[in-house]
């Protein structure tokens, strides 16, 4: 699997650390993190990561709005939702907004690995 530069977005620093550890173990580089939506949008523009992991519940704007905003800036952005929201409507709203994958918390490393592989092979854009 191609090693990616990843931006991790979650309102909990503990979760950011856990997801970052899993990503590093999978061979990716965590290029930055954001604890709220506005910061996530700014970090995306600044860091141009290959991949974003996105929580839905954020303290300012929700993760689905952040997905829309990032995709308006870069329509090839690859964003995977990592969330505790499992309601069907939330899932559909996220995919409609343009998220390319959906992983439930707690994050299982093999499920995250498979989801990233799937996203890269289906949408596989590279910023290189």
């Amino acid at each position: 699997m191609r090693a990616c530069k990843v931006l991790v977005v979650d309102d909990s620093l503990i979760t950011v650390r856990k997801i970052s550890q899993i990503l590093e173990d999978l061979g990716h580089t965590v290029t930055g993190y954001a604890l709220n939506g506005i910061d996530a949008i700014e970090k995306y523009r600044e860091l141009k990561p290959d991949l974003v992991t996105m929580d839905i519940t954020l303290p300012d704007i929700n993760g689905i709005q952040v997905v829309q905003n990032i995709l308006a800036f870069d329509k090839s952005a690859l964003i995977i939702m990592i969330t505790s929201h499992g309601q069907e409507q939330m899932v559909i709203d996220s995919i409609d907004a343009g998220a390319k994958g959906y992983v439930m918390k707690p994050v299982k490393p093999d499920i995250l690995r498979d989801t990233i592989e799937q996203v890269l092979s289906n949408y596989g854009g590279s910023h290189d």
Binding site: D11, M81, G86, V91, Y102, M104, P106
Partner: protein
């Protein structure tokens, strides 16, 4: 303190985690035996730091909803919610209510039932829903895309055109279309074969995509014909854009074929237009471009 002991003996026999928090200071003032055994003793520490790993009170804290804002007294209200706790990666169903602790302090008690096993199944279901939604999206995309060039197919570009014309009729916004045909395409196929013909179609489509504004919508009309729908664009501007595209194609290098050119017919929206009328005008203009020597734009 007899009443306090009563609470404790009652809470201690419940086989779920229970803790009590001072609603003003967030200090944990009681944990039942089950919770101390499974998580350790946090009495005297603040709930948001020790139980949820947050630096400030949790955004989901229910204390404001459980206390009367005017009297600061407990409301007779119980709130039940599911919560994922990143501290131990477990899912809990939490029931919370405010109460007056025997020493007079206003507190909130929380009963937390570990529902991680139940959630595991729900989570896999949510991920399956996501897979299904993604597949639907991919199918939706396929149904409106021309699979060779990646441009919209005829069915979809006709829909786009209908919508743009509707907007012009209703709001008076200008709109235009450009009908494009690759010159002598039959010769390309006859001379170099259909695979080279396909490469030319793909390369020309890439030039269209690169030359356009975000609001212009290109589609494959059929064979070697293309239609570009330009919303909020009058005929003069569409004509200039068509000329630009025409030059770009003529100047492009086609690795497998000799020089390729296109001809284009431009038509702007006129009062009373429908899809058929505007396409007929762009078709006639394209015909004139062909008659006048090709590699040119007419209107």
């Amino acid at each position: 303190m007899i009443e306090g002991d009563l609470f404790k003996s009652l809470f201690d026999v419940i086989p779920f985690d229970i803790y009590v928090v001072d609603v003003v200071s967030y200090e944990i003032i009681y944990m039942n035996r089950k919770m101390i055994e499974s998580r350790g003793n946090f009495i005297g520490e603040r709930c948001f730091e020790r139980i949820y790993g947050e630096e400030k009170p949790c955004y989901f804290c229910k204390i404001p909803q459980l206390i009367d804002g005017t009297t600061s007294r407990p409301l007779d209200k119980t709130i039940t919610f599911d919560l994922f706790n990143p501290m131990d990666d477990r899912w809990y169903q939490i029931q919370e209510k405010a109460m007056t602790w025997p020493d007079g302090r206003i507190t909130k008690y929380s009963i937390a039932v570990d529902i991680s096993e139940l959630k595991e199944t729900q989570n896999r279901l949510a991920e399956a829903h996501a897979q299904l939604a993604l597949k639907n999206k991919a199918l939706e995309r396929l149904s409106i895309t021309d699979n060779l060039t990646g441009l919209f197919n005829r069915l979809h570009i006709e829909d786009v055109l209908e919508n743009v014309l509707y907007s012009s009729r209703r709001y008076g916004h200008p709109s235009s279309i450009i009908m494009i045909d690759i010159d002598h395409f039959k010769q390309v196929n006859d001379t170099w074969g259909h695979l080279v013909g396909d490469e030319v179609l793909v390369q020309v489509s890439d030039i269209f995509r690169r030359s356009m504004r975000k609001s212009d919508v290109p589609g494959r009309w059929g064979g070697e014909e293309f239609l570009i729908v330009c919303q909020d664009t009058d005929e003069d501007s569409a004509y200039l854009m068509a000329e630009k595209i025409c030059h770009q194609v003529a100047n492009a290098e086609f690795p497998s074929a000799k020089a390729i050119t296109i001809s284009a017919g431009v038509a702007g929206f006129r009062e009373g237009d429908d899809r058929v009328k505007i396409i007929q005008r762009s078709d006639s203009a394209l015909y004139r471009a062909k008659e006048l020597g090709r590699n040119r734009v007419e209107r």
